[in-house]
Structures are given as structure tokens and as C-alpha cells.
Amino acid sequence: MTPMSRIQAALAGQPNSGKSTVFNMLTGARQYVANYPGVTVEKKSGFFSCDTSRVKLIDLPGTYSLTSYSLEERVARDFLLHERPKVVVNVVDASNLKRNLYLTFQLLEMEIPVVLCLNMMDVAERRGLSIDAPKLAERLKAWVVPAVAKRNKGKDELRDAVVSASQAGGTFKPFNMDYGPLEPFLSEIEEKLSQKPGLAYPARWLAVKLMEDDHEARKLIQKDVPNPGELLDLAVQKRKKFTAEHHEVPERHTAYTRHLTACRIHEACVKAEKKSLSTLSDKIDRVACHRYLGPLILIGVIYALYELSIVQGYNLTNYTWPLLAGLRNLAAGLLPDPGFTHDPLIRSLILWFTDSVNALLNYIPIFFILFSLIAVLEDSGYMPRMAFLLDRVFRRFGLHGQSTLPLILGGVYVGGCAIPGVMACKAIPDERARLATILIVPLMNCLAKVPLYILLVSIYFPEHKGLAMFFMATVTLFMALPVAKLLTLTVLKKKESAPFILEMPPYHFPTVQAVLRRAVERVWLFLKKIVTIVAAVAIVIFVLLQFPGLSQERKAHYEALADKAKSEFHGKIQGNPYAEHVQGRNLMALILFQEKYKQERRGVKDKEKARAIDARFQEKNPAFFSIIKPKKDKDAKKVNKAFKKVVKARKKIRREIQGEKINASFLGSLGAALEPVTKWAGFNWRVNVALLSAFAAKESTVATLGTLYQQEESGSGETLESRMKEQETGFTALNALTLMLFMALYPPCIATTIMVKLQSGEIKWMLFSMVYPMVLGITFSSLVFTGGRALGLTGLQAMLAFYGLCVAATVGLALYNPRRKFSYNHAFSKKEENL
């Protein structure tokens, strides 16, 4: 029995070569995602078996080259150098062979057997290109496997090639690039290297890198080689000599040599049968990138994204929410029963926990649709077109064309969510722009902020509803952009900025499988990383809201009220035949009985089913059942009437307790303590408490406000709007405005904060993203409120004034460009200037 051999293989390739598709084709469902240690670059691994070999395939980040200029390149290269996989599978776009070979050569130089996967053969064929695979294999000294990964073609051949390549072992002869005039210099360095025993890296590769003055290579030498100084000095010397003799730096020469070699091989192995005609992608681009149609189509796409995911997604939640509510009821049924005025702590805790988690889970249908649509956008190739259209605008604010999608997702109009928004920042290649985008996405209009806006607008801006909503929706953009610019000029100044150069790949029709897979992956990430932490925070907030709680005195007060209600009830039904069934504890039992009955009957439309449920409950306790459904029974009806009253009284008492509890809690004290500061922004302690609780999830703001503004004794149920209006007599439109402004700028909810940490990789940015909006929010709110008061402006006037200021700031900062050309700082490297 031949033992199972384990092989580690790496998957490398340029972006848009179909690498992910090849990865999925080879590994199927057996893959998992992690991070490369210490960085925010995703590391995907998968497995497949072939013959007696089990192959672990690591998907390296897609890179155009293997220099040390970008994080992805460094990660890919480090993996190849230190993990030394047995095989490298290089996925290549067959219709773009020349450019792809540029990376191939660099992979070959690592002296690991390479299997070249000629992907997208169908596209090459369509373009009239025919490739001589065997000849290519011969020239490159590699295995060449044509494939169409999208259609699962080439899977077996590729797997076989990987196994064969891994077994090449001793007979493997690495590919040798002829660098012409550079060769003598390389030999000298290689000789010096051979004097150092036990070097873990291919000597020739190192020699090339040293001549190119590659920073990472120098670091490797310093770390691993005894007496590195000598070697490094030699390299510097040689570099100077070559440059002086050939009027070109070595790295320019090596790049050019690779390019020429690629051209030669292309010439030899690829035949173009017809002149490239205008492709379908070209035709689509004529519209998609058109001067006037382009932006219109972009708006259309954004609208479709919004409409399908948010609006339709919300409609879906109408079906999924009952499921979640069902789970909650299940939990409620399993926990100890509630009491008349108080519930056991464990019950309150678990239910609160469930409610908080449910609120988040309710987003899943929306996220699923959203992530699917984003995957479609990504796979189709439209994203670079978006960047192409909007880069000019975003660039002025230190952002990038690819900041478009994150900002849209965050809610560029109304109703986005910062979580997928921050997630989408992954694609931004420029580190500075990426961080800037991550930091401003939470300022956009997330879904959860909207209920508060609606509440306040309907109370305080009733005649200008549309205008006020429009203001809220757009002002965030005019605040986010200047903030981005300021961040770029100050805090983010030292971050690397990258060149824009963006490939515009041909359009692809996304496959359902790939889209769904990506959507599921991301939803799972959301569940795993975010829901867990939010759940933990929910518990913390619970404690802060429950304790220290009511004083003994107050508790007694409510008990007294409860007793009064109960004795009223008993008084009314004295002498009634049913009275004996509801004495003492049985009253509570009846209340629970009714609640359980209602729960079971909820949503039941079928007469048969309803009757069955009724029969069951009747059997359980005929007396109770008659009381809650008296039908024609006069006595039962009497009890029913009194019962309804006591239930109502109970609800009222519980509501009042709830409200008072918040006052008496830690959170409440905190809210009160903050009042002296927040009063400049027009916030009283109630608003503070609501805002504090919103930290867990912004949705809670309205609910908490609802509890804080108690119903009045008289009258029918008033909406929160009317209650707030009545009870906050000092509150004017100006207060409302500042509250909304603060909400707009409010620090991201915990879930988003976690996402920020995940995407930026550093806790400091996560903390910064929490603190700076708070500072901004309080400052702006206070300015608007106090300023507005001082100038005697109405809410509406203050709104317009503030809006005007924001737009002015945006335009002003857009025109401000301290360094005339951003690109100069990366067009020249410091050492070059001295050479």
C-alpha cells in the first residue's frame, strides 16, 4: 500500500486571470478562509485528493508581479520563500499571455516546479488565438495545462500535473532567464552567496533581487546570513557599476528583459488567426463608460442595488422575522415564568439577549441579497468601470475610485449599512485611501439611524418632511467628504499612497455558483465574527440597564399598585362561580395560560388547526379556557371583563417599572451625568440614555426612547411622536436637528467597529473610528444648537445654514491641493534621487 503523500501547493496568478475559479474547481467545497499572520490579507486554503496524494492548495493573493512594493506581493512572495511549497500553480489568462508571463518568470525564478494553467481558453479561441501548449511547456520548463475553469474543464489534467510536478524532485531543472549584460554581475554575487553555507533561498533569485536593490531581500540577508555587511556592500557596488555602465538601473533592465522574453515566447507559441475585432466588452463599455450615459447607468446600478437589497430585503424580513420571533417564544417558554410585576432575572437576561441577537439576525436576508449583488458586480467586471467614472471626484478628497461601492453600501442615500460597506473596502489598493474610506463609511446613513430621523422629522418638521429627510440623507455625504480630506491631510498623511493604474478586464457573466458561494461566505463571516461580539455586549448593556434598579421603597410602591389591581379584580368577581379558579397564584397562572394560548393561535388561519388548538387548551384547563373565551357564558363573560382590566393594569405597572428602572440604572445615571456637557447640544438625560443604548445597535434608540417617554394616564395610546412632543415642551425643531446631526455622526455600532478592526488590522484605528465621530458629533451638534440659539434661528433656518456650510466645506476642500501632484511622491524613490 503506497502511503498517502501530503503535498503543499500554492496558487498564484495575476488579477482577472480566473484564479478563484480555478481554486474552486480544484478544491470544491473543501476550503476555508483565514488571514495571513499579522496582516489583513485573506488566506484561502483548500484540499483535493489525486491518486494517493492529498494536496493542500493555498490561494496566494492575486498580484501582477513579485516586488516588495505592495502588501499582497510581499505576502505572496514570503509564502513562496519560507513555506517552500512543492508546486506552484500559475493561473494565466490565455488571451493575455504576454503580460501574464511577466509574473510567471518571477515564479519560475523561485526554483519551485511550476504548473501553468492556461485558463480562459474559450476566450482566447473566440479571439482567434491558438496556443502551442507543448512548445510553451518546453520553453518555460514547466507543465502547461489548458483549462476553462468556469466550465470545470481541465480539472483532472490539472490535478495530475500538480502531483507529477511535486514528484519532479531531483530531475527538476529550473528555468533560467538570460539577463544579458547583467549576467556577469549576477555571477559574482552568486559566487559570494555560495560561500555562505546553508542558505535557505535560491541563490540566483537572491542575486537578482540584490542587484534590483529589493528591500525585503536585503532584510533576508541581514537576518539569515552571517556577516551580511560584506555581501550587501558588494551588491551596492555592483549596482552602481552596472548603472554607470549601462545608464539604467538593474531593476529596469530585469523588468525589460522579462518583457522581451515574454514577447519572444509569445511570438513562438501563439498564433493570432484574425485581427482582433471589437469585442462584446468593448461594445458594452461604449455605453457604460460613455460621457453622459455612463454616469446615468451608474446611478441606475446604484438604485437597483438599493432597491433589490434594502427594499426587497426588508420585504423578505416580513417572512423571516416571525421565525426569529418564534425562536424567542420558544426560549420564553423554556425559561422560568414571569411574575406579576417582576420577572426572574435569568428570564429577563435571556430574553434581552435573544432580542438583541434577533435584531441583528433580522438583517440576514438583506445581507444575503446585498452580498450576492456585490458578488455579481465584482465578478461581472463592472467595479473598475465604477472606479473609472468616479475617481476624479473621489480623488480630491483623498479617496479612490473604488471607494464608490463602500460608500454606496454605507448608505449614500438612505438606508445602507456600514458593515458591508467597511467589508467592501478590502478592494481598495491604495492604503491611505482605504483607511480613509473605512473611517468615513460609518458616517453614512445606515438603516438603523432612519427610524430616529423619521420620528423627529414627523414631530418637528411636519410641513417640510421631504426637505428634512433629503437634508439628512445628503448632508452626511457633504460631511464625510471633507472629513476624508482632513483625515488624509492629517492623521493619514504618512500612509502609502499607491498609483491608480487599474486594469479594466473584459466583462464576464457571473456564475450562480460563484455568487452564492461568496454570499454565503460573507454572511457566515458576519455571523461568526460580529453576532458573537454584539451578543456579549448586549449582556453588558443589560447589566447596565438593570442595576442598581429600583429602591426598596419604589418596589413596595409598585407591589402596592399590583395588590390594588388584584383585589379590585377579586372584588368584581365575588360570588361568581368561576371565582374559585382564580384565587391566589391561579390568577398569574391564568395570565400565563392566556399568553400561551395567544402565542399558539398567532398567525393560524386554518379553521381546523384553530379548532384543534382550542380543544387542546380547553382540555388543559376548562375553567381558564372559558374565562378567556367566554362566548355565551354570562358568568364567564363577567370574569373575562374584569380579567381584561387586571391584565391592562399589570401591563401598565410593568411599563412604568421599566421606565423607572432605566432612570435608576447605571446607564441612566450616566445619561444624567453627561447632561451638563450634552445640554450644549440640546440633549437631556433621556436622550443621552437612548444614545448610550444605541451603542449596541442603533435600532434601540427609538425603542429606548419609547420606554423613556411613558404613556399618560388618560387617553388612548399615543404614538411616541405625540408623547415626546407633549412631554418635552422645551424641545424645539432646533433640538431635533442637533439630535439628528449627532445621530448621523454617531460612532459606529459595535458590529461595524469590529469590522473596522478586521479591515484595518489595527486596534488603534478601531478606537479612532469610535472616538473621532463622537467628538465631531458633539462639536457640530453643540455648535448648531448653541449657535442657532444665539442667532435666533429656527430649526429650518439652522438646517439650511448648516447644509450650506457643509457644501461649502466640501467644495472648498475639493479645490485645496497642498501638494500639487500627489503622484510625485511615488514617482521617485529617495535612493534614485541620489544615484
Partner: protein, 106 residues
């Protein structure tokens, strides 16, 4: 000039959608009390109460029969109409629920 055109288009587009902001999922369940009255209970997924939300009871052709509001317990009780009817929970755009009287079983 082109830039201005694009900006105006975007803003105009914005105005159209000013009102349409979905927020939290609405809920409404109705029960037949067995004594010719029906009680509907309402709420929202984020825990906010539905007190004050407008309730409409209409006949099958949509003609209004009764109107009222959810009380402070988020409940609305009304006399069951003769014949087919519909109940509507109206908390604003995107937050409406319509329930068929037929489905409210005794």
C-alpha cells in the same frame, strides 16, 4: 458644465426618494375573541411599541368601516363586522400590514 449637470441629476434623483426609508419590520397579529370582537396586537422588530399606530377596518371592496389607533398596550379592539372585511395596520410607508378577516379564525 457637465459636472453641474451630473450633480443636479443626482440631487433630483434624491428628492424623488426622500420619503421612502424603510426602518424596522412591523408586526401585527389579530385574534377573534369569540364574543364578536376582534383584538389586534402590534409591534416592531426593534422593540418599539406600536401605540398610536392607525388601524383601518375595511370591507372587501376597500370601503372604510372603522378607524382607530393602537392603544398604549399596542392593542386595538373592534367589533367584528358582518361579512368579509380587512384590517390594516398603517405605520407609514413601507410599514403597512394588511390582514384578511377570513384568516382571523375564531
Amino acid at each position: 458644465m457637465r459636472k453641474i449637470f451630473i450633480t443636479m441629476a443626482l440631487l433630483a434623483f434624491g428628492l424623488v426618494f426622500a420619503g421612502q426609508a424603510p426602518a424596522h419590520t412591523p408586526m401585527c397579529d389579530c385574534f377573534d375573541n369569540g364574543d364578536d370582537t376582534v383584538t389586534c396586537e402590534g409591534g416592531f422588530s426593534d422593540g418599539s411599541s406600536a401605540a398610536g399606530v392607525v388601524m383601518h377596518v375595511m370591507d372587501s371592496s376597500g370601503k372604510a368601516l372603522l378607524q382607530g389607533k393602537m392603544n398604549q398596550d399596542s392593542e386595538f379592539t373592534f367589533e367584528k363586522p358582518d361579512g368579509p372585511y380587512k384590517v390594516k395596520f398603517d405605520a407609514g410607508e413601507g410599514h403597512k400590514i394588511e390582514i384578511n378577516g377570513e384568516d382571523i379564525v375564531e
